[in-house]
Amino acid sequence: MPALACYALSAALFMFDRSSGRTRATGYAVAILGAGAIFHALDLTARGLQAGNIPVANFPQALSFLAWLTALAGLLLIVRLRLAVIGAFVAPAVTLALGAASLTTSSGHLVLPETLRSVWLPIHVTLAILGYSMFVLAASVSIVYLAFESRLKSKRAIGPVNEGAPSLEKLDRINYHLLGWGFAMLSLAIVSGAIWADATWGHFWSWDPKESWSLVIWILYAGLLESRLTVGWRGRRAAALTIVLLGVLVGSFVGVNLIFPGKHGGSFG
């Protein structure tokens, strides 16, 4: 599919620039990432029309949706905040996610169970996945932060590569904002999910594996933000924790959906 090809090509170009220390291919990489997002949007629209709702009927579709939102938000960061350096992490992540989604997706006609057809579906799922995409981007920014930080600490700082690159302070601030937005989305996703559950099943919370893990993740991210606000944990420590938390998030996202298919996992992401 064209979207995957674009993402892969863009990832290759971003990584080429990163390893060669130049920014020659970056412009093309951004444009191709954008083209990928457009193809991807068309694909999602087609599937959505088929499903009669947003296309999140199963795990691969949810993963694909996550890849798309991450690409979109990543492009926004790259263009608006001139943060092309994260491209070398965002584009490969998006490629991997969509690649995995394409490998496991079934071509059969997917129909949402009657109980899940609701206006709450797009709200709840979009919020959750948007939150996840923020966390993916925060981790990408954190990887760049750690790389730059170690260069500065070890005094290999000034080189052609670093000129025009974002400062540590800027990366740290963006990381913080992304975490904040992601946390807000995740909170709203949990609240909207609870309201929806109450409307459908008559109770807000039923401790299904997805719900439990979401709560765990919510608490972990709350802790990360809290540590910055109270103790002032920022910079390297914050960046490292952001990456670790994304690992936990990915583990739960994949694990819960594939291993513990509760009322979330079996049907959608």
Binding site: K155, I158, P160, E163, L168, G235
Partner: protein, 448 residues
Amino acid sequence: MDQTLFIVGINHRSAAVALRERLAFAEDDIVAALGRLRESSPAVAEAALISTCNRVEVVGVATDAARAAEETLKFLATDRSVAQDEFADATYSFAGRDAARHLFRVGASLDSMVVGEPQILGQLKLSYAQAAEAHSVGLILHRAFHKAFSVAKRVRKGTLIGHGSVSISTAAVALAGQIFDTLKDKTVMLMGAGKMAELTARQLNALGIESLLITSRTFDRAVALARDLGGTAVPYDNYKPYLKIVDVLIGSVSSTRPILGPDEFESVVRERRYRPMFLIDMGVPRNFDVRLNALQNVYLYDIDDLGALVQRSLGDREREAEKAEQIVELELESFLKWLAGLDLTPTIKDIRYSVERLRDDELGRARGWMAQLGPAERERVELLTRGLTNKLLHRILSGLKQRGDKTLDAAFAAEVARRLLGAEFDAQDDHDAFDDAGDDGDDDADAD
């Protein structure tokens, strides 16, 4: 008219500043000086004058480059009132290809004291503008300067020659830019009286910072410097409480032992809630314990660290300079090709040849009926045709030469003449000559 470029000058390598300053021209005197030069030097057809702290050069155009160079040297001697034998050994002169190469290298900052420094291009542009104002720029100099500008642009774009910091203080400022997003909300503290430290503080201050604190063992000195820089003086025995609001700390206190150690600094770091801090240690012996670098979000650079960065940038620039030299050579070829196209000799040869051939062809065709003529009559036909072609050639060639002196349309006129006469094109690429004759040189850089 085979005019060529010539350069006479001295620079930072050939002469000490004591001599350079005596030959230098004031900026507002250059237009007038060019007038004086042209007046006293008949061999100089076009001229521009570059006068910076690192070089004084006359770039000119002449038919006889050696004579022009001699006249230029004389002019410098009389105009600057320096005896010629005082500076003759320190000057260099180039002609033709070497002169063009030198001009391009100067513009590309390959001949600068600090290779890759960006000011020289602006100075070259100023020299060109002054020469244009003095009406001493003709076709060749115009082209040569614009080519030099486009070479410089290509070098800047195509190499990393201008990258990296080449002085201790700019390296420190560049590092601050990699740690902090903006300096506008940052507090800088300068400790001690070192020159380098003061220079760094000045540079940071000039970029616009929130506040500048200055402390020194001699409080009066701190007060004086604070007044000079618009900062605040802090007594040396009471600077520590301020550390928690300081983002950039520059140390150059003379002390045999580090004045700040990791234990007391750890609490400072905690108090400022781990906001990043940049410590610049310009003291020898060093002011800050090296272990401070290991603290969270603290970046400590001493004078050697900064020096190593400078050395590395200089090394990088050297490597990039090699690439730049290749660009210069390439552009040099294209410039010389254009210059050769201005030379009318091959054109004249071509035209003469084609007219002669026309006559031969016609005579050959007439051989039949000419056979019936007597030898005397044949002779007269020969003479008649020769006279005709010679008259025709004379008109064309003298017209061409006249235009050639005006230079601007020389290449154009030559090509028209050749085309009208069906003269063969030789190896010269004349298209280059007039497609580019009037351009501003920038196209060259944008095209690639």
